[in-house]
């Protein structure tokens, strides 16, 4: 195929952009992701800007530039302030700390120790990312630029090789070769299913000729997952570039990014990014002077989890109820508005430019036999370091929880990790050392899913967690197919019964039977995977179900119905406050004599417990 002469020299643009970054002088990166904004990063930025006016004092630099970046991933330690030239990462920075950082470190080169990260194991202050375990053990590709560049500046994206891959691809003008590279790289869909990306592209490309669409699935609905949000907020141009390369490969000239409405910041940054890219002719008509054109639109979701399923997502873009339909026909043949459509997840597309730049071999050198490259995980729950991480496929759970995550919080005991959200399952201590990839996790009864990792301690009730997920999927079931609509409802009923201490052993059998039917009979991925949290917890924590049923006890002490609130007679002074507080009149007693709780009447609201001046009321 003939090479195309482009009317733009991306290397030249890169040089100029890099020069401009040098001219910024001392770069102070302040995280402006959703998490840090909530912790007040806008005020921190303002304060820095105020101080920055006084530039004469910066001996080595003639200027200081405050760069609001996307998510650094270490949300819990926000607001994060990174000064790369000084090799320092400050955590939990508040507006009032800014002046000290400026006076002490920026002006006088004396780090502010109290704002450094403290290692939870060694209790030592750590200066920079290279020494913070949370970062040191990660390999960032999809997230490489998140937190290092101004997310709202296309120039900063260009400086870190943004759109270089697109220019290369357009110059070579060989769509087939692009698909070959992606196929060879071994990239698999990062949205959950793990379908080989290259193969999906090839299927769609086979229908080339008429109108085709590219769709980016940014409907990150799994509770506990926020990697796609971070990419869209922190490095939107990487996603746009990935989409453009994919569109070129399959012959699409129009595309949609479907973003959930709960991500307003991501929507705002993507809109700006599209506009900036169009102005530079990196999107729109005749991109970079080639024959290839691509129009991108943003569609806001309206709060329906099932729209993460590709056929439901298509229905939603078309303005309909977001209900899935049976496949085939697959979207590759008949998708959006009845045309061939390629749907990829945000993280999948963010990997594309990097693969095109560094080659398929580079990408496939990371990971395991069947799962190549890196995967982002949202690490949350009872660990010390919560946040967004990216590690090579095959990393063990132990490395993630105990090295990157810094171990369990408040000295709690590790019990399980819930992986893959409402479609995934629980992994226990025995799984800590298996290399995590698509296939190993399926074998263990879980799945990579979108990559939510919620660490749970012995203070978390597994049955309650299963009920929580079932409640979620039941709520989100669209109602189209019977197994999912009725099955999840009845599974939830049984779980509620067990949690309330009213379950029987027959219920447990029925629960398992139902789980299997819902799994086998449901139309789409939502129903097919909805029973996973129940099945995997029944497999690994059956004892806990049984103690709820037989002993009427919740081993973690979470389930209200099995809680017992009692008054310690030795401590009770008979002040009558509890009896007056109790909304249901369950407490008897006379003045100056120990009181007593009538367990049949008690609704376990704990109002007496929080109001007792003598701490005489306890939870048993």
């Amino acid at each position: 195929m003939e090479k195309t002469g482009l009317n733009i020299n991306i290397q030249e643009e890169q040089k100029i952009a890099q020069e401009h970054i040098k001219e910024q002088g001392l770069r102070v990166l302040v995280c402006a992701g959703t998490g840090c904004v909530a912790n007040g990063s806008m005020k921190v930025i303002e304060k820095f800007k105020e101080l920055g006016a006084d530039v004469a004092v910066l001996s080595d630099y003639d200027k200081m530039t405050i760069v609001p970046t996307g998510c650094h991933g270490f949300c819990e330690q926000g607001v994060l302030v990174v000064i790369p030239d000084k090799h320092v990462t400050y955590v939990k920075v508040k507006e009032k700390d800014v002046e000290e950082i400026y006076e002490s470190h920026i002006k006088n080169n004396k780090p502010v120790e109290r704002l450094l990260y403290v290692d939870p194991k060694t209790h030592e202050h750590v200066m920079d990312d290279e020494h913070i375990n949370f970062y040191a053990k990660q390999t960032r590709t999809a997230l490489a630029n998140c937190g290092n560049i101004n997310a709202e500046s296309i120039e900063e994206a260009i400086a870190v090789r943004g759109y270089e891959a697109l220019a290369k691809v357009l110059e070579e003008n060989n769509p087939e070769a692009v698909i070959d590279t992606i196929e060879k790289s071994g990239l698999r869909g990062r949205g959950g299913g793990g379908f080989p990306t290259g193969r999906k592209w090839r299927f769609t490309a086979a229908n080339k000729g008429g109108k085709s669409y590219i769709v980016c699935n940014g409907d990150e609905g799994d509770p506990g997952a926020f990697m796609d949000r971070s990419v869209m907020e922190g490095d939107p141009h990487k996603l746009l570039e990935g989409m453009a390369i994919a569109a070129f490969a399959i012959g699409a000239d129009e595309g949609y990014i479907y973003v959930r409405a709960e991500y307003p910041l991501a929507i705002k940054r993507l809109r700006k990014a599209i506009k900036d890219a169009e102005e530079k002719h990196f999107l729109g008509k005749n991109i970079m002077g080639s024959d290839f054109s691509l129009d991108l639109h943003i569609k806001e979701g309206a709060g329906a989890f099932v729209c993460g399923e590709e056929t439901a997502l298509i229905a939603s873009i078309e303005g309909e109820r977001g209900m899935p339909r049976p496949k085939p026909p697959f979207p590759a043949n008949k998708g959006l508005f009845g045309r061939p459509t390629l749907i990829n997840n945000v993280e999948t597309l963010a990997n594309v430019p990097v693969i095109m730049l560094n080659g398929a071999d580079w990408f496939s050198s990371m990971g395991t036999e069947t799962s190549k490259g890196t995967k982002t995980f949202a690490l949350t729950g009872d660990v010390n370091n919560t946040g967004l991480i990216e590690v090579p496929m095959g990393t063990t759970l132990r490395e993630i929880v105990f090295d990157i995550g810094g171990g369990m919080r408040d000295g709690k005991k590790f019990k399980a990790v819930q992986i893959g959200g409402p479609s995934g399952g629980c992994l226990t201590e025995e799984h800590l050392d298996i290399p995590m990839d698509y296939d190993n996790l399926i074998k263990a009864g879980a799945m990579v899913g979108s990559g939510g990792l919620v660490v749970m301690s012995d203070k978390t009730c597994i049955v309650e967690v299963a009920r929580f997920f079932m409640n979620f999927t039941q709520n989100e079931s669209c109602g189209k197919c019977v197994p999912c609509r009725e099955g999840t409802k009845n599974m939830l009923k049984i779980l509620e019964k067990i949690v309330a201490g009213k379950g029987t052993m027959e219920d447990l059998e029925l629960l398992e039977e139902l789980a299997q039917s819902v799994k086998d009979g449901s139309l789409c991925g939502l129903g097919k995977t909805a029973p996973n949290p129940v099945l995997s917890t029944l497999k690994y924590f059956r004892d806990e179900y049984i103690s709820h049923i037989k002993d009427k006890k919740c081993p973690a002490g979470v389930c209200t119905a099995m809680k017992k609130i009692v008054i310690n007679e030795a401590l009770c002074k008979g002040c009558t406050k509890c009896a007056r507080t109790c909304p249901v009149g369950a407490i008897d007693g006379t003045v100056k004599n120990p009181h007593h709780i009538n367990q049949d009447k008690c609704i376990k609201c704990e109002a007496c417990l929080t109001n007792c001046p003598f701490k005489a009321i306890v939870l048993e």
């Binding site: 959703t34 979701g301 508005f337 929580f468």
Partner: protein, 164 residues
């Protein structure tokens, strides 16, 4: 097509909204989102109007779409929209006590969407993607991180004082 306007819905405003997105079926969700932003809910008459105005739609289809998506409300929402995140991370770190504290503070029993004085509406959402800050409460787009029963009570007190 001209439609009679039975109630006090400002048709010119609706026309303006439909116009700005384009009177196409595929823009229905965006149009409804904008209408909800203006009225803080989807008035029935607005849905009927949109359903008759846009080709390929009927009021029933519009109603079907409006009831499918969690974001749309057919009842007026309060001036302050409180969203309590009950995603996994928030749930594990105690979002339920926070929700109960809000219900107690605003005297809103389970199932009630909007407070008696119409100031506050309350709902749970499944995940706001701010899991590192769990548990999270969002009031009109402002994120309140790492909430506790006490902390949210103080937040609500401040808002109530402003309104008093």
């Amino acid at each position: 097509m001209s439609v009679e306007n039975p109630h006090k819905i400002d048709v010119s405003k609706l026309d303006e909204i439909i116009e700005s997105y384009g009177a196409k079926k595929s823009n229905l969700i965006a149009i409804l989102q904008k209408v909800q932003e203006v009225y803080r809910y989807l008035p029935e008459d607005a849905m009927i109007y949109i359903g008759t105005k846009i080709e390929g739609l009927s009021p029933a289809t519009v109603f079907g779409v409006a009831t499918f998506y969690a974001q749309f409300s057919l009842e007026p929402k309060g001036k302050y929209e409180i969203k309590v995140c009950d995603g996994t991370a928030c749930h594990v770190r105690g979002s339920m006590p926070v929700l109960n504290a809000i219900r107690a503070k605003l005297s809103m029993p389970e199932g009630q969407l909007t407070s008696e004085n119409g100031l506050f509406s309350l709902e749970t959402v499944s995940c706001l993607g701010a899991c590192g800050l769990a548990p999270v409460v969002v009031i009109n787009d402002k994120v309140y991180p790492q909430m506790t029963s006490d902390a949210i009570t103080i937040v609500l007190d401040t808002l109530m004082k402003e309104e008093a």
